[in-house]
Every structure is written in structure tokens, then in C-alpha cells.
Symmetry: C2
Subunit: 419 residues, 2 copies
Amino acid sequence: MAANSSSTAEQDINPWSVAGARDESGNIAQIDYVSLAQKWNTQLIGQDLLDRFEKVTGHKPHRWLRRGLFFSHRDFDKILTKKEKGEPFFLYTGRGPSTGSLHLGHTIPLSFTKWLQDVLDVPLVFMLTDDEKALFKDSLTFEETMQYAMDNAKDIIALGFDVKKTFIYSDLKYVSSHFLMNAWEFGKLVTFNQVRGAFGFNESTNIGRLFFPSVQCVAAFATSYPELWAEEPQKNRSQPIADIACLIPMGIDQDPYFRLLRENSHRMRFPSPKPALIHSKFLTALQGPGGKMSSSEPNSAIFMTDTAKQIKTKINKYAFSGGQVTIEDHRRLGGNPDVDVAYTYLTYFEEDDAKLAEIYTKYKSGELLTGELKAMAIKALQDNVQEFQEKRKLVTDEVLEQFMTPRRLYFAEKTLPIR
Amino acid sequence: MAANSSSTAEQDINPWSVAGARDESGNIAQIDYVSLAQKWNTQLIGQDLLDRFEKVTGHKPHRWLRRGLFFSHRDFDKILTKKEKGEPFFLYTGRGPSTGSLHLGHTIPLSFTKWLQDVLDVPLVFMLTDDEKALFKDSLTFEETMQYAMDNAKDIIALGFDVKKTFIYSDLKYVSSHFLMNAWEFGKLVTFNQVRGAFGFNESTNIGRLFFPSVQCVAAFATSYPELWAEEPQKNRSQPIADIACLIPMGIDQDPYFRLLRENSHRMRFPSPKPALIHSKFLTALQGPGGKMSSSEPNSAIFMTDTAKQIKTKINKYAFSGGQVTIEDHRRLGGNPDVDVAYTYLTYFEEDDAKLAEIYTKYKSGELLTGELKAMAIKALQDNVQEFQEKRKLVTDEVLEQFMTPRRLYFAEKTLPIR
């Protein structure tokens, strides 16, 4: 994001960086998610799908679905059909571990996944891509990123996942023959040309990076790991549970990996159905549109270790405001909630749609001042972070070990078919 | 080897196929090892080096060294210096597993490695590249090649390796964090351009093949695996035994892998010295020069499961002869031992140099007939194969398990420094 540059640029979204479009003056625009969905040929989530979700699950769609934070999908409707028919499926998601604690932007897709786990009542395979992190960052060693994975896993567990239904693993630490064989088998199906097309790799890209997509894709074949799924312990991947689909909640930037997966999953020796995907937008950085919260820019993010006071200071000092410069102007002209970071954060945590609509209207009319809006956002964030910190204290080494031990996962459908 | 083609071709040696040069009539020439050594810039093994070997080790060089079957090297002299100084080093070799039993062409470099293990008194890490085999052969699955690896391992053990000093592993079955981390770290140092240059890969090559060289190279860093080398069990690759060199005996076709290794080993986080290499020629196929024994062409090879009768039949029926068509012509014109397969095989197994020279002279003069020469070769092969078969019977599942269990390997230098 070279704000000083005078050249324009289109928005650039890939698994390793996110930047909004730039105009001639170097201004960064908001991410245009609709054009991204068109470009990548994903389906936007509309009211029809949300209505169907409620009908099938009996649960009101999560506020992040209602408000379009999860805005796009591939074959999510097919997963609902499976749920309707009582057919088994599972969730797969992951995270590239970072040093220190998670920030709010990390927790949103993960909390959403936890909610899906509860509402859909299905197992979850959670991949910590410590290998990817070190491959794509020259200064990091694999030992360091594996340690980050262990630390991050405790934060992830604190978000409330159900241990009976959740296996969390580090790519570097959890090594099994089945895992490796699936990664190789998938890697045998995918050429340099394909990963160049999907990720923008080139001839100078290292072979670790070139191969890594195999590893990221491979958890979608987790039903072929006897240690997790088989009825009886098996020596080989001889008889995976057939036709078990997979739903992957993710940030939209990860879509290139899973396009590759969807294009090739039927070519595996034990073909698996195309995994379904559900895509989130990025949690806006404190500085406003055009980027995402980043661990490497501390003032861009609220961290889950921040104190109430730090949160207050960050929002008051750094949160980009859609309000006017003076109170008089604000009362007269009104604020712009659509670009206001405090308002955006409120949309993530205020459950009550009517209350949120009222805040929107009052801020737009100038009745609600920036300071008042920020105070509401601060309270919401402080509550969320404090609740997290309390849960986090309970995540001991023993709890971590439980989540990270390969073991047969619980399938509700096996014991209680859903009509 | 399209013998019907009328176009000429240079000899083509790579890790996956070997073909001699072809002239306009489609005739395949013998492999030109001297020009190969020049092209790849390896050092030919001369009498000086052999003399030094004898002086340092106190052992007469193996007949396969004396007769130039092991003909080329990189830094083998530096290994002799280490031996002289009593500095530790280890052997690394491997094999791409194949279905069924080993053939004679497989056993020669392995028997030579066993002899080096005895004479140099050093540990050996033995890699079974079952992953490579399935990556480079579309019709094979990883389950199949892993099974081949287990079967081949028993044959390998029957060649006489010392269990105290030998760890044999399958890439697919032996999975450890340290192993993976080294493979990723090495893969991070090597680009697509580099593997394209080394192996002739292109943009349509699959990403499994592109990454595999990392895995093949990684055993050279085995001193950083605490399960094999550390004084005390360690959790991380934090303190490998420094400056332990590695000597890799191999077929010359594998040199591209280890060139890559030598170009990059010093760039690892725990830099390792450039591994030393010692290269063998290929054991000539029964049909004669221009190819090598191949498991997929049963009549090209003597298998270690062949009966005495089968060996006799194969040599009599298929072994390319340098003799004349009639006895009269043979007596008058003499035979050509240099292209005679029976004679070539005798050079592999007849220990007595004087006796071999006599056979050479008598065959060339016509005094020794083709049938007589073949009978000698048959006897030598039958003895060798029978001895193998007797040892092979002793390799039980328990013995296999012993060799394949990661454990601390024995270093003579630790207990008994050599002057």
C-alpha cells in the first residue's frame, strides 16, 4: 500500500496480502467485494439462502450472515441439503499462526465456525499452517512458527469449540502417513502452471511454496484418516467413509487454495465431493477501509490481550471516523456510518438489528456524535475481549493436548439421524 | 530407447531413465562415463585416490573400485581426510522401491555401501523413496510403493548391513517433525528455476515432483534429528552435532539431486558441509550396452529370487556375447570381452585380478569359448544369488522392525578415536 505512489492500482487480494484499489492521488478505496465475487465467480449470499438456512437448521442466521460479513459461498446450499437429509459432513478451517495473541480480525471467522459447529452439530478439523507461515516469511524459522501454532491454538480453543467434535493440529507437529500420502497424491494432480495461475507464483518461487497448496488442501480429505474417522483402526487409507462432504468457512483471500481443491478433489483415488465454501470479508483495520487488521501493525488491530484501557485508547485515537470535524458541522451535516470504523465494529457485536438501525440513522442525521458512537463500540469490544480473556485462562496445557490428540471425532448423524 | 527411430540422439542420463547415445541406424552405444563425468564436472577416481584409500583405511580397495565400477566422485578425498583425523561422518544412500525382489543391478551399489560401512566403521542412513516412486509413475499408488519399500527393505538387510549402525526408513512411513522441517527449510532455498535446470522439469510438471528433491536431499541433514543422533532426547532441532559430513554412494544418475544438495547445504540454518559423493556405473543389462537392468523388463536382469536354473537359462539365452558365431571363427578371430555381458558380470564377482586378466586374454585370443565364459559367469552369479537367498531367509519381520526403528546410531569415533 504505497500511499505516496501516484500510479493507480486495482484491488489486490491473495492469501498473503490484501489491498484496496488505489486512485491517482494514492487514496485506497474500500474493498469491492461484489466485484471480487464476480471476478472469482463465487455466489453472493442472498435472502433466499438465509431463509433456507433458518428453515433447515431452525436457527436464525448469525448476525454476521444477516449483515453480509459472510457474504459469498460455493455450494453452501448443497450442505444445507445434506443437513436436511441427515447426511454427514464436516467443517474444515484453519489459521496461519502469528506471534503473540490473536486479534479481533482473527477471531471473527473462527467464532463464526464455532457457531456453525454448534448449529450444524458436526465435527471440525482445524489446521494450523505453521509450515506456510515460515515458507512465506523469510525471517521466520519453522521452529518459531510451530511455537506460534501452539500458542495460537490456546486462543482458538478459548473461542469455545467443542472438544468432542474438534481436532486441532499443526502441520509441522502432526505428521501421519495418511496425511503425507494425501498431500503427495493431491500434489501429483496439480501442475506448476495451475499453481502459477491460482497464486501468481513464478519461476523464481521456491519449491516449498509451490508444493504447500497440497498441504493446505489435504484436510478436506480428512475422512480418509483412520485415526480420525474409521470405525476400526486401519493400517491403510483403504476404505474412507464415502461421500462425506466438507464445508470450509474462510476469509475470501483463501479462495484460490480451495478453488484448486474443488477442481481436483474428484480426481483423488477416493474421490471426495467438491468442498463447499463460505467466505467472509476482512475485519476493517482501525485506520479504515482498504486493508485488514494485521498483527505486524499493532495500531491497526485490537488484540485479544488488550486491556479495557488499551481498547479505549485505540478506538479513540486510531479508529477512522465518518463524523464531521466539529460538533456544529456534525449536527448540521450528519456523519457517514458506512465508512466509520466504530460503527463497523458495532455491526460485528450488536446482536439487535433494530437497535443497530437506530444507531445508523441517528449517526447519519447528526443526532449521535462520534464520541458517543465510539463509546458504544469501545463497550462492545471491551465486553467481547474480557469474556475471551476469562475463557482463555481455562485453557491449560492439558486442554490443549486434548484438542490436538488425533482421535475419532463425534458425528451426531451416526447416533441421531436428523429428519 | 526407440531403436526403430532413424534420428540420432545423445546419451540421456537422469534419475528416472538411462539411455546410451543412438546413431542413425538406431544402434545404442555404450554409456560414455568419461564424457558424463566431464559434462557434470565430477572427478574421476584415479590410482592416486585408491592408493590413499588403502593407506588411510588399511583396506585394499574393493574390486568395484579397482575395476572402475565406482568411477567418479565429489570430495571423496575430504572424507578420507576425516577418516585420517578420526572425525565423525556418516553414510547416506537410498533406493526407489520396486515390486518384487531386487535384481543384481540394485544390489551392487548397496553391497558396496555395506562394504564402506564395514571398512570405514560409520553409521548409515538408508532412505526408501517410496514417495518418489509413486510421484514419477502414474500407475502406482503411494500405498503400493510403501509396501514395496517394506519388501525391498528385507532384501536390503539381507545384504549384510550392521543393525547397530544402520537406520532404514520409508519416506512415507517414517514421518517426524524434524524430517518435515528440514524438508521445508531446504525447499525454501530452492526455486522452480533450479529444479528445472537440475532435472529438466517444466511448467507442466506436477508440484509433488517439483518438491520431492527436498525430501531426497534431507537425509544428509540427519544429524539434526535428535531421535538418531542427539546425546540426550531433544524437542527441537536446536543443536545438531556440528560439522558431521556425509558420504553418499549412488548410481551416477542420482547426481542431479545431490548437486542441488551441495549447492545449498551451507545455506541451511545449521549449515552442513557439502556432502561427498561416490558414483557407480550401471550394471549392464543382459542384452548389453546402452541400458541398465530394469525390474520392468524381466529378461534384462538376474533377480535375487532367480533359481540356479533360471540364471543359467538367462545367461545362456539372453546375455549379449562378444564371441564369434562359429567355434571356428572364434578360435581364429577371438572374442571381444569388452562388450561381452558374461565377462562384464565376471568382473563384478571374481575377486582375483590375475585370474580375471587371464580370462580376458584367453577370451580375446579365442582360446576361451563363449560357452566356457558363460559357464564361469553362471557359476559366479549362482553362488552370489544363493548366498543372498540364504541370508534373506533370516530377515524376519522382527529384524525389519529393528532396522526401521528410529534410535541413536553407533559412532565408532565416539568410543574409539582413530589415529
